[in-house]
Symmetry: C2
Subunit: 236 residues, 2 copies
DNA sequence: CGACGTAAGTGTACGATGTCAACAATCACA
DNA sequence: TGTGATTGTTGACATCGTACACTTACGTCG
């Protein structure tokens, strides 16, 4: 596949002074001021966009600076190297995953019944469902989110948090705490349960988006999602 | 870290036998004949070696040709492009994963008791254990194995088979068939069970080698492996 | 047995990328 | 007002993937 996308993209659109934090944009926008205003943010935004379509490998430093309307080397004032940019993109992607999960959890909570055990189960399923929904809706970002070597110790880093302030790991942890509180997860099994539940769901996500399970019909994937969640629920 | 498996498939260009210092892959080894003898094989071997340390991104076409002692463009007589080389490396890596799994399965079979249900369970655990052992021993190859988009339909492609002739998917399938035969997996749940078991184990592998679970102590990973397998066993 | 078609390698070249070193424009504060 | 620290810019490499054109020598066949 020689998919060259538009290489052009340098033209006008005099977008005046650097407006703040916004998420802006892929317009090259020749800037008038010497300072960019928020180069770091712009590079990150460009990086996220590139990761969204094309995954981690598509995150190219020079292109990011191009989109930001800046010289390639300007990036080095804000990121040590491409890897650092990618790490930032990865963190942001995890934040977006967290948002997807929170959304699903919120929906589940709304439909919650009185039984705390059922509610806990529903919440955990929602966590998994949200995670996988994100993987399917944003495969590029999902892959980017986990393409950078990381450590468990950073799993609660604020940079990985969604708008609600929780990281994916923390969301999952909370759901498992609810299980424990509801008495449906024996204390002996609570330790590190995050890892096991996470593994199952993460694995399905990976297999579905670039692995051998890719290209399966949506129904099949839906079914697999349910079955994997069943497995977790029974097996935790 | 178990040592290098036989890196068999490599060296042995029928001609190269000229100078001393044997068939190491990284010696430029000035070839005397115009024809290389087995360029494709040499490139593949070099690619595998590069993937072994460094994962898929470390597979660079030019370097492979360098190690094979040919011009960069010579590679294009055997691979359409870098992606094609990577795909070949990926297939080979899956074959090596299959070998690791077969080894574990064989060990489990040796210790097999009379009870077929227990034997079946042991076999499935062995499959998972072997898969994860490969991920841990050869993280680069493991990542390379699944870095190339693929489809379920190819999961039984002979190119992905180990020396025993079975692909990882086929090994897993056989173990699940044994479950069904032993009556410990209700027929209604047999369909696509590969996907669910695979997901759990694959996810753990990914999380452990480049994901957030990386750097955990060996004991912790061992423990997680057992727990994930428990989960699968209970939850399938 | 010698000519020859053709597969397998070579040479050269182009555009792109990540990154370094030196330099210039601007802001921030004394 | 001036002076130092930030932030971008210029220019230059080394490396990569790959296209086009050419050359070499192996295998086949008249």
């Amino acid at each position: 596949m020689s998919g060259e996308q538009g290489d052009a993209a340098l033209d006008a659109a005099p977008n005046a002074a650097a407006d703040g934090a916004g998420a802006a944009a892929d317009t090259p926008a020749p800037r008038t001021t010497y300072r960019h205003g928020d180069l770091r943010g712009a590079l990150l935004a460009a990086g996220i966009e590139m990761a969204r379509r094309g995954g981690p490998d598509a995150v190219v430093l020079r292109e990011a600076t191009r989109q930001a309307g800046v010289t390639p080397n300007a990036a080095y004032r804000h990121f040590a190297d491409r890897q650092a940019l990618l790490r930032a993109v990865s963190d942001a992607a995890q934040g977006l995953a967290a948002d997807a999960m929170e959304a699903e959890v919120a929906r589940a909570a709304a439909a919650s019944g009185v039984n705390t055990a059922d509610a806990a189960r529903r919440m955990l399923r929602a966590v998994g469902t949200g995670y996988l929904a994100f993987a399917r809706d944003e495969p590029g970002l999902f892959r980017a989110a986990f393409s950078v070597p990381d450590h468990l110790a950073n799993s609660m880093d604020a940079a990985k948090a969604g708008t609600a302030g929780r990281t994916p790991f923390q969301i999952l942890s909370a759901a498992l705490d609810a299980w424990a509180a509801a008495g449906i997860l024996p204390p002996a099994r609570r330790a590190n349960a995050e890892l096991y539940a996470w593994s199952a769901v993460h694995g399905l996500g990976m297999l579905v988006i670039d692995g051998p399970l890719r290209g399966l019909s949506a129904e099949l994937v839906d079914g697999a999602t349910v079955r994997v969640l069943d497995m977790v629920e029974r097996g935790l």
